[in-house]
């Protein structure tokens, strides 16, 4: 079985930054990613809050640059899906359909994915009008009407993005103000194509073979009605990709990994970084910072426990 000092799982901003720091430290490191590198950044049209990128940088370009930056210093990236992790004495064993890899230390940077609402019609119409990615699927809605659901940064950003294609975007939000950052909320409120339905919640997606309407409830009046639409975009937060780590490391109630201030999880020698972690703010800059800390902490751990 192949043994590495450090194995990083996941090649989003957290994993790639952890990899960059590890490669620069000349550690014996391997990064595993089940798809191609980038993570959720790949579903972002324009990143406007990456410090130094004054004019913004596209999600594609930032992902490519982060990958290239880590590769430049010699990081090895392999495409494998890690399906299991367990401790074996001083080592951790990572399972994948392609075989096992042993590591002295592990950084979990497995990321998150869009959360589903779990309303009737949502699953059956996914891909047929229900979508979780405006930048991917917006172009299918040229001159049509779409409903976007949510009130955070992603919902605000994506609602504005969708106006490039759709003639009308309804933004459905359960509260009476947006949680999105001020600059993003302003863009929503100033956009003529966006109509915000405050204090409304979606109850179901309606349609046969395609989305025809979203059933809504007005929380102020309790009135229920069907809002006709061609598409329903759901932007209501994320769920972590941590299912395979259940009973391996401690998590919060939503399944986000709990770590201490040095990114150390409940399992000795296993660190976590990025959007899969339990925390207040999930942003690229936070993920990158945590990746750097995780690598440094892993390096200290290796010195103390494996020398």
């Amino acid at each position: 079985m192949e043994t590495r000092d450090l194995v990083i799982v996941g090649a989003g901003p957290a994993g790639l930054t952890a990899g960059l720091y590890a490669a620069r430290a000349r550690m014996d490191v391997l990064l595993l990613e089940k798809l191609s590198p980038g993570g959720q950044v790949l579903t972002t049209d324009m990143v406007e809050n990456w410090p130094g990128a004054v004019d913004g940088i596209t999600g594609f370009e930032l992902a490519d640059r982060m990958r290239d930056h880590a590769l430049k210093f010699g990081l090895e990236i392999q495409m494998h899906e890690v399906t299991k992790l367990h401790a074996d004495g001083k080592y951790k064993v990572l399972d994948s359909p392609d075989g096992e890899i042993r590591a002295k230390a592990v950084i979990l940077a497995v990321g998150a994915q869009p959360r589903k609402l779990g309303m009737p019609g949502e699953d059956t119409l996914t891909g047929k009008g229900v979508s979780y990615c405006g930048t991917c699927d917006g172009p299918f809605y040229r001159d049509q009407v779409v409903v976007a659901i949510g009130g955070g940064d992603t919902a605000a950003e994506e609602a504005v993005f969708l106006t490039r294609f759709a003639k009308k975007v309804y933004l459905v939000h359960r509260r009476d103000e947006l949680r999105a950052a001020g600059v993003l909320a302003e863009r929503v409120l100033q956009n003529d194509k966006i109509e915000v339905l405050w204090s409304h919640v979606p109850l179901a997606v309606v349609g046969e073979g395609g989305v025809e309407a979203v059933r809504l409830k007005n929380l102020k009046t309790d009135e229920e009605f069907d809002l006709a639409t061609d598409g329903a975009f759901v932007f209501v937060g994320t769920v972590p990709n941590t299912e395979f780590l259940r009973d391996v490391v401690d998590m919060d109630q939503q399944g986000f990994i709990v770590h201490d201030r040095n990114q150390q999880t409940s399992l000795d020698g296993v660190f976590s970084a990025g959007d899969c972690c339990s925390k207040l703010l999930r942003q690229i800059v936070v993920a990158a910072g945590e990746g750097a800390v995780a690598t440094y902490a892993a390096q200290k751990y290796l010195e103390d426990h494996h020398e």
């Binding site: 798809l35 980038g38 996914t126 891909g127 991917c136 299918f140």
Partner: protein, 109 residues
């Protein structure tokens, strides 16, 4: 590796996919779509792995909008396994290789 992947369009979809003697996996994608890019190397691996057993193809929805329209596709990546000209499995999103293999295996059984 990409040599095993067939590029199909609205023009040859019927002949190449619906008329295929063996099951076909079609990746409906576009250049603007991040998850499409994320899953591309997985599709390439499958094409190599199942060469001769499954016809693996890509269809660019920008260049060929008619076919995705016929299948009600409004989100990408969408991956469809066709068998005997019919939709056998339809998967939306950048899923894992294991997930796609499971769908393929079912049609080979």
């Amino acid at each position: 590796m990409a040599d095993n992947i067939l590029q199909v369009s609205d023009d040859n979809f019927e002949e190449e996919i619906l008329g295929s003697d063996i099951p076909a996996l079609v990746d409906f994608w576009a250049a603007w779509c991040g998850p499409c890019r994320a899953i591309a190397p997985v599709v390439e691996e499958l094409a190599e792995q199942y060469a001769g057993q499954v016809k693996v193809a890509k269809l660019n929805v920008d260049e060929s909008p008619k076919t995705p329209g016929q299948y009600g596709i409004r989100a990408i990546p969408t991956l469809i396994v066709f068998k005997g000209g019919e939709v056998a499995e339809q998967i939306t999103g950048a899923v894992s290789k294991a997930h796609l293999e499971q769908a393929i295996q079912k049609q080979l059984a």
